[in-house]
Symmetry: C2
Subunit: 316 residues, 2 copies
Amino acid sequence: MRLRYSVLGTGALGGFYGGLIARQGLDIHFLLHSDYEHVIEHGLRVDSKLGDFHLPTVNAHARSQDMPKCDVAIIGLKSTQNHLLEELLQPILHQESIVLVLQNGLNVEQTARGIVGPERVAGGCCFLCSNKVGPGHIRHLDYGRIVFGAYRGIDGKDPGPSKEILQQILDDMVASGIEAYLTDDLPTTKWKKLMWNIPFNGLSVLLNASTDAIMGDADSRLLARRISEEVRQIAQAAGSPIEPSYVDWVIDHTDDMVPYDSSMRLDFLGGRPIEVEAIYGNALQEAKRCGFSAPIVMTMYQQLKFMAGHRVASKQ
Amino acid sequence: MRLRYSVLGTGALGGFYGGLIARQGLDIHFLLHSDYEHVIEHGLRVDSKLGDFHLPTVNAHARSQDMPKCDVAIIGLKSTQNHLLEELLQPILHQESIVLVLQNGLNVEQTARGIVGPERVAGGCCFLCSNKVGPGHIRHLDYGRIVFGAYRGIDGKDPGPSKEILQQILDDMVASGIEAYLTDDLPTTKWKKLMWNIPFNGLSVLLNASTDAIMGDADSRLLARRISEEVRQIAQAAGSPIEPSYVDWVIDHTDDMVPYDSSMRLDFLGGRPIEVEAIYGNALQEAKRCGFSAPIVMTMYQQLKFMAGHRVASKQ
């Protein structure tokens, strides 16, 4: 069986991965909002370190009601838009459609789970430096790895999708040139990603700095390390033990990154909502559930909540 | 014996207290820098909720070499200028001159102690909302209490100045209309002040917000409380027990303050150095000395160090 894909949220992430899948000739449909007219006329353009490409014609749609039912709905929207998911998903789901949530943060799959139930949600982490630089125009800067797997719920007891369907999605991704991997332990994958996101997304907004500025300053560099270590400790308390040396890996790896603005900073500077709850709030919920105190992450959460609520009055 | 005073640093603080002492007709000399010409010509102006006053003639000096020896040198400079103290103090000190350091932060008296020794330094906390609004022109907004006492060194074993001289200074202050008190326990007085300074100075810079904005937001308000409580715990570990309810007092008291920009925020926005080491670094030194972990204060310290070092690239 050939799978039909749809991408909800054709931005830096959905446009990049979806574009690769479309280039491979697989059956994929894109939901677009402000870029719809442009993409209908000019197609989708991806500038990538893997090789630039341009797809003159893609299956573009302005409303999910006009899209065909799909087997796999890839969620490329930010978690701050999850209140839209039910309305967007309902028209394109059949009885066995899988929802693959590619969003930062912990338990962001809960919204999809509420819509399709405990057997049909997968989650994934994307290690991707990519920006949307114009209508239907994605610039892929670095990395691109996806690690995804069954979402098993907050208590870890959901069955999740079958191995077969996950394998089939993986095969399609790999065939499309995506560096994709399956994981049986999505929470640990998420926590490892959070060991980067929690220090660097938040500091980039709070210090109004790119990652290389944060890494280039002795104090903020040490702070990033302390934050990453605190996240590791929450993960450990939550049942996802990660070796202490992974903190070193996170820091070293960031040294090697091209100068990069975190997605949270770009959202903040662009006046868009920032994913404070998905990345910080949900991690703190897990810490609380395990009786673990996370003073630094809590401090960042409260600072970021203030910043998000006082955008105009604050840095301009 | 009538005491002769001098004020080093005739700004929001030195100009206000020194102005009151001069108005009382006591013997006081002012060291001025950029405002010297203006004050020679127009005198010193203080707009105060205690009553506005104007002193057409004060003993103003542009260089401390031109000042007479004094019995009490009041340090109104910021601690970030303490590297200038030795040069400024030497010409005006006699064998028994007392140095009264009115600076935010812990152990900021160490510089003066290095100059005059362990028997001649006093320190104090000012609870003062005051700004310099123009050359030789101070605007006193609220409060004004000084609590001061012998500085006994980092280990608490210095003898400090005699009770008699401290009492005489107190009497002069009170006669001048200053709400002044003596303390036998300067460290606890300092820690109590730090329970305000550490949350509100730092957050006002990091969140680019006035104190009423910080108090008016649920998250930053809770954060301020958590920070103040952590400072209380450092103080306790350092031998200055303060009752937990003092945190409530700090928060309630800040609710009652007129909308006020912290001195650190004004310094930051004005492009002047900020007192990160005196307020945060020295408190963390004490925490370290006592083996106490202070994760939130350390986080703020590292964030502020970054901000201080990246002023231009950051918020404008």
